[in-house]
Symmetry: D3
Subunit: 244 residues, 6 copies
C-alpha cells in the first residue's frame, strides 16, 4: 500500500496489525553523461513499488538527499546534513505520534548514509537524554548493498561497477523508465577513482561525474533482473524488521 | 522536461537559454474519509507533468509539507515550519549555485503558504543583510487559486467546495489515479467550518478530517476538466515569470 | 491594563478571570520620505493604548519585525523570519507557563503576516508532534484590515491608499505623535507598484520607499477618525476571542 | 533623535556624520509587590529619551530580555538566551548593512548581561572565523552601574538597595510614570539574598520576588535625581564611544 | 608537537612548511565492568602522543563524542550529533582561518563515525553551495581499523574482540595508564551482540555494557604491542595525507 | 576520582552518596610569545587533578572555549558561543539523566564566562518555560578569581599581572609542565591594555598577544605556590557546593 494513495482510515486500520513503514530516500544529483539526475530516488522508489504490492506500507520518497559534492554539475540539489536530519526527525516524529514504531529507510544514495545514521542517533538521543525510552526501531537499508543485488553486479560488471553512475543503478532506472535510456561515448571508458570532498574538488577529479564506473554496460534487461533481486533483498530485510 | 529524468548535460544546455525552474510542493496528510493522503502532492505533480511536456523544467515534488494540524489522523506527516524553510533554502541555494535565478514553487497545500513565504524572506534576507543583491525571483503559485480553476469550482460546487478535502482536489487526483476513486457515506454531508489550531483541536472540530466540503461531488470527468484548466492557469503564470 | 505598568500581583489577579492577552507587533522600517520609521509599531501600539483603557491586558510592543526588503533604506531593521519565530515562541511559552491560553497578536506590518503564522504553526506543532494538546488559541489581527478601517480608507483615499507608506497609516501616526507630521514633494505623486523581493531589488523598484501610495493625503484629523475605527475593529476581535 | 520618529532621509543624513546608535534593552519581569513589570525596559528608555533630545540616535527599546528565573511570577516573559542573541545579531547586522559601526546597548537588566556579551562575541566571531575584519564596536552599558548613579544609591539606600526590585530602579520608573506609584506592606522589610537558578527555585527563595532590597524607600523625587545622574553617566559613555 | 604545549610563534613557524593537523576525538562512556569511561579518548590520545614526538602537530583531544546509547550507564556523556557537528565545524573553521588545510580526525569511537562524516559534508557544503572552493581536506582515521592493529586483534582475540569494551582497546588504555587495570568476573564470559538503538534499549540488551567482547583477555603487554602497531598505522595515514 | 579513569560501576556507587561533579573548562588560544596555547585548559585541569585526589569527581576537561578574539594568532581555536552553549547543555543533560544535580564548571578563561552563564540560563529555561523544576545547581568558578590566588598575584605581580598571558597563569602551567618553560624578550615589557573586539582588531591592539601583563615574571616556584592556593580556593568552593 502506498501511503499517498491511501486514505486515513486505511492507515488507521493498518496500524491495528502493523507499526512498521518503509520510507524510500534518494538524491537528486548528476549521474554521469548518461545517468538520470533522479537515479538515486528512482531506484528505491521502483523497488518499493513492488513492495507496496506485497502489502508493505510505503511512504512518499524523500527525493532530495545529501549531495553537496555533486553541486558543480547542473541539476544537482543537496540538503545540508543538518536539514536532512531535521526532515528525518520530523517524518519519524509525525508517524510515531500515531503509533508507528518501526521505520525502514530504504536508501539509494551512499552520500546519505552518514547523515541518516546521525539523524537516527539524534532522534534516539531525545529519549536517552531524558532518561526515557523511545520504543523506536530506526533502520537503514541500501538497496545496492543487498546480497542478491551484489551477486548480479559482481557477475556482470565486476570492477566496472565502480562507485557512482554504476551500470547497476543505471540499468535499474531503465527498468523503471524504459524511455529514459541514453547513450554517450564515455571517455575514458572506466572513470577514475578518488576521495570525495567539496563540489569544486569533485568536478576537478571526476570530469564527467562518474567514479570508477562503466555505465555503458547498463541494459534494461539487466535492470529487470536487478529489480527482482532488489525486491527479494528488500523484502527479506522488511520481514526481519517485522519479526523483531 | 523532468529534472529527475534528465542528465546533467541536459540541464547544462537548458541553462544556456533559461534560468527558471518549477518546483511542485505538496503535503502528505489526511483528506477526509475518501481523499488520498497524497492529494496535495499529487495535484501539483499531475499538472506539472503536463507542463514538463511543454518544456518547463520540473524538479521532483516536495511531497511533505507543513501539516501539523492533521497529525491526529493516521498517515499524516508534517515538517516543522523551520524544517520546511531549511529545505526550501537548500533547494534554492543549490540550484542558484548553478545559475538558476527564477523559482516557481507550485503548491498544492494551503498550510504551506505562510511557511513558503517566510522561507523566501529568509533567503532574500541573506543578500539584504549583507547589503548585497541576490538576483533571485522566488514565486509561489497555488494551483487551486488559478482563475480557470476557480471558475469551474464555483460553477460545479459553489459553497460545497469547502476548504479541505474539496471536491475539486479529489476530482483532480482521480484524473491522475483513476483507480484510486473511493466512496463513503459522509456524515454530515457538508463538513463543518472553523479555525485551525493544533492537531488535537482539529480532530475535535473536524471529526472525519474534512472542512466545509462535500467531496462526494467529485468525479474523474471533472478531474479531467480541472486538469486542463489548471495546466492553462499554471502555464500562464510560468510564461509571466519568463517575461519578467 | 498595560503589562509593563502592572505589578505581578495585578497579573495574578487578572488571570483569575481571563487568560487572554494582546501583543502589539510592528516593524522598524522606512515609510517613504515623510512616514516615520516606527509607523508599523506606532499604529498598533496607539490603538492598543485605547484597548488597555478598556481593560484589555496589553503586552509591550514587539517593535522590530520582518522587514528584510526595506534594509536598503537607512534606519530599517529586520529580524530574520526564524528569529521572529523564536521570539514569538518564547513570548507565548513564557505566558502559557503562567496560565495564559489566548493570544491576540495585533499587527501593523504586512511583512510580518507569513512569519507570524509560521510561528503559530511551529508552536502548535510541539503539541501535535507529541500527540498532545496545547490548549492554545493563537490569533493574528492586522489593524489595517479591520472593516471600519477599510471603509474610511476606501472613502477617503481609494486607490491612493496603496500598499506601503499609505495615507491611512501615516494619518494614524500623526494622531499618536502630532509633532511628527512631515511634508515633502512626492515624485511621482502616486508611487509605483510591483513585487517584493530582496532589499536591493526593492530600492531599484521603489526609489523613495513607497509602494502605490499617496501619503500626502494624510492628515491628523483623518488619523483621529481612523483611531476610533481601529479601536472599534480591534475591540470587536478581542471580544470574539474572549467568547471563544 | 528617536529612530521610530525619524524618516529614512533623516537617518541617511545622520549617517553622513555619525555611525553610532544607542539601543535600549530591558526586560519584562516581576519587580516585587510594588515594582512595575516593565521596570527594566522603562529605566533605560526613560534616560534614552533625554539622550535623544541631546542628539543621540535612539533605537526602539528591546523590551523583552532574558528573564527565565522570573517566570514563576505572572506577567514575566523571557527570551531564551539563544533567541536574544539572534535578535541582537539581526539588529546589529541590519544597521551595519547601512553603515552603522558603533552600537551602544543601554541595558536595564542584570540578567541580560551575559547573553548580550555572548551575542557580541557571536557577531565578532563571523569576521574572526573568516579571517576578516568586522569594523564593529559593540558595547554594553548598564544604567545602574554608572558612577553618579552609584553614588546616589549608596548615599540614600546603602545595603537596602539590594539586587532586584531596588529602590533606585523603582524610583526611576516613578519619575517616568508618576501615576504608577504603588505601595504595599513588604514582609520582610528587607528581602532575602541568594543564588539565581530556575524559576521554581527562585520563587521558593524569594517569595515576593525581591532580592535583598527595600523598595519602599523609593520616591519620585529620588527618581528625578537618579534620572539626571543616569543621563549624565550615559552621555559620558556615549561621548567616549564617539571619540573612539 | 602538542598544540597545547606550543606557543603561537611555534605554530606560525610550523605553518610555513605544513598545513596539516591531527585532532584526536574520542568519547566519554561506559566500557563494561572493567573498562575505563575514558577509553575511547585515551586510546587515540595515547597514540597521538607518540605521533607528536615524531613531529605531528596534535590538537587537544575532543574527549566527548556521540554516545547517546550509553547514557543509561552512569558516567556516560554524549554530545548530540548536531552539537558535535558544530564543534567540528568551529575547530576546522578556526584553524582554516590561519592557513590549515588538511585535518586528520583520529578517532577512538565507532559511534562518532557517522556524525564526523556528516560534519565534514556540512563544512564542504558551505563552499559547494556558494559555487566556490574550500581547499580543505578532511579525513577520519579510526585507530582500531588500522591494518597492523587488526592483525594483532585477530591473532590474539579472534571473535572475542567483539564490538564494545574490546580486549584491544582495554589493553591499550592499560599501556597508557598502568594503574588503571581492573578485573571483574564477567558473566557471561562473552557479551551478547545486537543492534544499537536508544539508551534504554541498549541497557536491556547489554546488561553490563559490553557488546560481543571478552575484555578479560586484555593485558598491559598486549597494550604495549598495540600501541606500536597503532602508531605505525596512524603515521602511515598521516604521511599519505602529507603527500596528498 | 577522574571520570575518565573510572568504570561505570564506580560512578554508580559514587552517585549513591554524592550528586556533584566538577567540570574543568578552558580554552585553546595564544598566550603571548612565551605562554602555552593550552594555558587556560591546563590551569584548571592541573588543579582539578589535585581535587580528584581528594575525592572530587572530575570530568574530562572541555579544552576548547570561546576565544574568537584570539583567532588572528595561529593555533587559537574557538567554539562559537552558541556551540559552547550546546556542549554545556549536552554535558549537563547527559549527567542529569543519571542523577547528577550539582555541577561546578571550573574555568580557566575569562572569555568563557558570559557564554557559560548564558548556557546555564538556557538550561534552567527549559524547566522555567515548562512551569517545572529542574532541580539543578549550575555554578561557575574561575580559578584565577579565588581569594588565596588573588593574594599571591597581588603580592608578587601587582599591576604586572595584567589580563592575558599573566605571570600567574604562566607560572601555574610551568608547575604542571616544567619542561614547557619558555623565555623571550618582551617588547614592550608591559603589554598594552584595551577593549576586546574581533580577532583583527585584537591583533592590531595587542601585537604579541598579551594584554597588560609581564609574563617574564613567571616562575615554576610561583607556580607551585599558586597550585596550592588554587587547590584550597577550589576545594572551598566545592565544599560549599556540597553543603548546599
Amino acid at each position: 500500500m502506498k501511503l499517498q494513495l491511501a486514505t486515513w482510515p486505511d492507515i488507521r486500520d493498518y496500524l491495528e496489525t502493523c507499526d512498521a513503514i518503509l520510507i524510500p530516500i534518494g538524491s537528486t544529483e548528476q549521474h554521469g553523461p548518461t545517468g538520470l539526475v533522479g537515479t538515486d530516488a528512482i531506484c528505491p522508489e521502483h523497488i518499493a513499488g513492488g513492495m507496496a504490492e506485497q502489502g508493505v506500507l510505503v511512504a512518499p520518497t524523500l527525493s532530495i538527499g545529501m549531495a553537496q559534492h555533486h553541486l558543480a554539475f547542473p541539476g544537482s540539489i543537496t540538503l545540508r546534513p543538518t536539514t536532512l536530519m531535521a526532515v528525518i526527525r520530523d517524518v519519524v516524529t509525525s508517524l510515531a505520534s500515531q503509533g508507528f514504531r518501526r521505520f525502514l529507510f530504504f536508501n539509494g544514495h551512499g552520500g546519505n548514509i552518514a547523515t541518516v545514521q546521525a539523524a537516527f542517533a539524534d532522534i534516539y538521543a531525545d529519549a536517552s537524554l531524558a532518561g526515557g525510552e523511545s520504543g523506536l526501531v530506526l533502520e537503514l537499508f541500501n538497496w545496492f548493498m543487498g546480497p542478491r543485488m551484489g551477486e548480479i553486479s559482481k557477475e556482470l560488471f565486476g570492477d566496472a561497477e565502480g562507485w557512482h553512475a554504476t551500470p547497476s543503478e543505471i540499468s535499474l532506472t531503465w527498468d523503471a523508465y524504459p524511455n529514459a535510456q541514453r547513450q554517450a561515448t564515455l571517455e575514458p571508458k572506466r572513470a577514475p577513482k578518488g576521495p570525495i570532498r567539496d563540489a569544486h574538488d569533485y568536478r576537478q577529479r571526476f570530469a564527467d561525474g562518474r567514479i570508477g564506473s562503466e555505465p555503458d554496460l547498463a541494459s534494461a534487461e539487466t535492470g529487470a533482473r536487478l529489480y527482482q533481486a532488489g525486491l527479494e533483498d528488500a523484502m527479506e530485510v522488511w520481514r526481519k524488521l517485522l519479526e523483531n
